[in-house]
Symmetry: T
Subunit: 144 residues, 12 copies
């Protein structure tokens, strides 16, 4: 059975609650529910965390390093600014899958670059909630 750590980055707790024009109408709880349903189908156990702080996300990655077989992470704003999260992923040595709801290549130029991608196994972006579901399939493929 695969153990997957799911990490949601800053501001993702607001999904579906404010600014639906930007963030859609699906809430984070609903995304997590869809992830849990798919996890059952794929035979995976999930631990799901959301944090607004860069250091807190580093803490979570470290403290789950022994339990988890893979990481599914949407680093949100920290995608573009955090070397610390990158170093944490590289240090724990787990396969990581990076996902984004939106197509970051169609947004502002500073969102085109990811500090996380070079230490992830792969990156999925632009498919809305489906990015998470496809990412969970990809993460599970490293856990057999």
């Amino acid at each position: 059975m695969a153990n997957i750590l799911v990490v949601h980055g800053p501001n993702l707790n607001l999904l579906g609650k404010r600014e639906p024009g930007v963030y859609g109408v699906v809430t984070l709880d609903e995304i997590n529910e869809q992830l849990r349903l798919l996890a059952v189908e794929l035979g995976a156990a999930l631990r799901i965390e959301q944090r607004n702080g860069e250091g807190e996300i580093v803490d979570i990655i470290q403290s789950n390093a022994d339990w988890a077989d893979a990481i599914l992470i949407n680093p949100a704003a920290y995608t573009h600014t955090s070397v610390a999260i990158r170093d944490a992923i590289a240090a724990v040595g787990l396969p990581a899958v990076e996902v984004h709801l939106s197509n970051i290549h169609q947004r502002e130029p500073f969102r085109h670059h990811s500090y996380i991608a070079p230490v992830a196994r792969g990156q999925i972006c632009g498919f809305g909630v489906n990015s998470y579901l496809l990412g969970l399939r990809a993460a599970c493929a490293y856990c057999s």
Copy 2:
């Protein structure tokens, strides 16, 4: 009556206590006192917070999003590095006024760029404490 969330970024708690050549002799308490006096005159209620952590500032913006009508923020060092605070301001959808004590255009080049400015209604810098007072006037103008 206008509800204004005032956010002071990292290291501003040191104002007037250390390095007066850089940070002046006025303390953060004295700035807050002046802000409160002007708020009475303008008929505004204030909630004032200072934090050194990026994620903590994101938390404060989110947790005050329903109470506040506008945000007055001096992001200090995070002006130049935080996409997370930028996204938080954009997500809650409140009018924000960005202020700086010093003229950031006369300091090091990396301080010339602001991640916050594009999601703020406007920016005021270079007038010392007066930047805050002018900024409060500007913020209140969005609350009628």
Copy 3:
């Protein structure tokens, strides 16, 4: 029933035949076989094409524009140099999913930029053959 056009870019016909250290041991025929099996499961019809020429890929996109409901494309080397394929995808107006076998963010800098991504719905990279399979799921999601 969804009609999906699958386009393989230049040199992908060599997969599994030469340079296994770079391109793996799976052949393009085997990838296509896996795509066809998943297509049956998802209720999709596939047309699969591989071309080494930029203009030929433009031709294929145009000539299948009326039949296809979505495009699954690995532009390979043309990812980084072709404005013509980008314009073809934009012109036919079909949802497109861009996939890559390798994590392009871990390769040479000139492979980090994609001309195709801004006109695609999303991008998946780094999961080997699984990039294609996840991409087919993503493409089918636009065809109901």
Copy 4:
């Protein structure tokens, strides 16, 4: 009593007359009227000038250098191209406040850089007419 030189740069004479979608519906005369009302309240005397020529603006700054205690300037297009106006402000040695109606950080990239800001005491942008009124308050604060 404070003497303030107010300088409006090129094309600002068109305010409120053409392209209201870009330049709003308030005319330059109305802005000047609001400035004069606030000047009475603050005990300041104003000289107000608008010019389309770079050299003419240099002339005005020089010829008012003995009368004025401070300068309030919206350099408009010359913000981004004029070293001559920058040098004039530096040469006369008066405190200068730079204002912009729009938030220049949200417009084209070439409008993000200001040649004037490094020689001004501060910069205010993005508050519409209020940028001028806040700027007048800031300028008067240097005149006591």
Copy 5:
């Protein structure tokens, strides 16, 4: 007697525990032990802290500002992204010595630039644990 604040940045608590190929086999506790032994020899008192959060490191620098005579800091990932820690060091006005285990000039380009170096007295990198010991000597030289 010199009081030295020793600050370890994010992920350094993993030293010697994971990824020995990258981080070596020496643990942070062993580094701290060596620092304490040398401190006795040099007649220095140490306070040693490790944090994963940027704001927490700012807090520690501020709260030890009155006790410490100098700072020995390995900012790790925040070396390259934190203006807030830079500002904290500058604000407390203590001599600071920046150390790195690895030679940052031999790693990825984004690790070649340090926001901290311009406000530090000096920088030592590339000598493994010895970077810390040499750094402690350097720091004590400012405390007599």
Copy 6:
């Protein structure tokens, strides 16, 4: 009598057929018809070709080099990426006029640069079908 080779680049065969919001409602056949009518008035003979392939366009320029007196070319996407077409135009030594339907300076930055312009006699862009008609007049002026 002037012999003019008219070359249409990739995707221009889709004009008026798909994406009218981007490409207008006029078809390539209608543009060619207008060109032929004007050619009669100006006493010119036309050969008109459209190709999606870069190498095919090089072939056409070479194979018509002895017949043609001038070239009228809309390189479309190859404007920005093709050194080969540039070299072909330079090699055959015929006067060339570069035309574009849209104002390429108002589109994405990568469309602002033309490899073709330095070897053409001139460039006309932004006038829709009229770009072609003005270009034909310009080309004929080199053929007397």
Copy 7:
């Protein structure tokens, strides 16, 4: 009947008088004569102005904004440096056609960029006097 404002930028009054190797042998009067002849044929009225000053050109565009239906402008050196003329054209909201005698893409790199092009309907360069005549045809096409 179309009213066309023709603006010649700095130094164009020297055409045909000095430096024929650079500026040809045709004088500005002769160009204007050819423009007037073509205007009769096209049923257009012309106002023709030449100025060396940036501000003077802004004045001319503004003062003719009510009379003119379109603008034909050769901004010469100001093509590459003037945001003020760009703003004037955008503010008056008239269709503008930018022309150049020489092929600016074959001259020094700083002449390759135009501040005017993004606010013009189109640009014609490289055909000598014919650039003006083709430009007048293009401008008249916006006046029916």
Copy 8:
């Protein structure tokens, strides 16, 4: 006996026929004749191909991959724009020698960079036809 694939890129079929000032008076047939004579002397068998299309050159490299022991290639214009040909050379894994008739370091800046050189064993440029002959010697040295 060494088998050498000789590939001539776009427009090289025009050598000696047009623009002798740029391309010299020697034809491609004469170059090939000299190559064949030297091949006899060196005991090598040659297959010589010229193509104008990028995809066609990829095809030729692939289809000769089993026969050839080494590749001698003048990529001409594709030197500077083709990632596809680079990938083809890398994929077939044969030693490749890149040659240029002219000294590309003395031409336009965009010709100074080669996408091919990093995957070639070496590069020879600037000796006219002799570049090819020296290149053939170099290629044969990999075939014993």
Copy 9:
């Protein structure tokens, strides 16, 4: 007898009157007096002009083109922004000597580049008033 046109650019009329720390204590009249004394010694006639406007300086260069044998010019701020003055100097075809009071290489980076230098015979900077006197000697050397 040599006829020399001396052109002083914007803000130079303030020399010695304001900001002596920046501009020294010598007035422009005193510089002109020294130039006139040296002109007598060298047998030269001078016409001396100062203007703040870019277009006015173009006018002066054009209107003195028939009288002058050479130009001595301190373009001041326009050194770094004016293509129009550059074109005027090139168009009149007179030898020009560019002078600066200060060493522009020791000032802000944007002052290191000169649009004028490539069309001048030479450049002298950094010697205060002596830059003008040496420049007059250099200019006269072209007038025999």
Copy 10:
């Protein structure tokens, strides 16, 4: 016993003799004396050389390659310009320690980059003479 080659680069012979504001009051002889004292303590033998010529420094590194166990080098100005010294260090294959008296990160930008650092084991800068002493300790650590 460790054999250490100490190399002082150009102009360091002037230390303490001229420009004390820049180079301090300690002479090179005094630095060498301190190095020799520490060497006795550490059980190391030193050879100390100062040269102003790049080639001479290469000679010294080569001719001491068999005697030395490690190199302590302050390349001074050649830090930023010499590939030859870099290659010499790499070629002899000895561990090298790079030292600088000043904090090069606080000086001009061109001094931030070091050609030497990537081939050195580590770099120490900013501690004045102590940089050398710390560096000698570091060098000796490679010699046991």
Copy 11:
């Protein structure tokens, strides 16, 4: 009979003696022996020099300028930094052939640029000792 000056740049005297993984096992004497054998075959006289100093290489080029008919030079590290050697080659006006043992395009980016190539007739790199032999053939071809 051709007179060829052979110049070996810095560190090449170490060939085959140290770091065989980088510099191979062939010594400079053996390279020179092979060059002399080939020279006999080609009817050429050689003068062979190796120097570590930039100025010394300039001296050698100058002092052999009357004797030599051509120069064969491996500038080694000075390839990338020496304008002085470039100027010396250009000044003596002899045909020069630049050679490198390794493929400099596969090494660090700063080794991709050559100051020498633009003044050489051609460049050969990547063939080990064969680069010198092919280069001698190329040099002799200029001496008949």
Copy 12:
């Protein structure tokens, strides 16, 4: 009486002897003769040196530091590459005047930047031998 050290950089000993198209027909001896004649008139003593080596020029500047009152230097190729000569000039603290025969702003881009200019009092370029004579006048002006 003023003591002036005159330093000629690499390859200047070839002046007038080779490549007159590039270096003119005047020899270095003739330049020195003209300098000596003017020195008599100005009451100055000269020491004149020419060197091809960077380190040798540093040596000369150092060894004449006590005798000389000012330096007149044409660094030639080292203008663009030598930090060592720059540091030598700064270290000895003498006023230095930088001269060039040609207008470096009209040559290759890499010759536009000078490492020497920021530490010189001023720069004179483009006047041939007259650059030296004007430079000697400028240097003497610092020696009274």
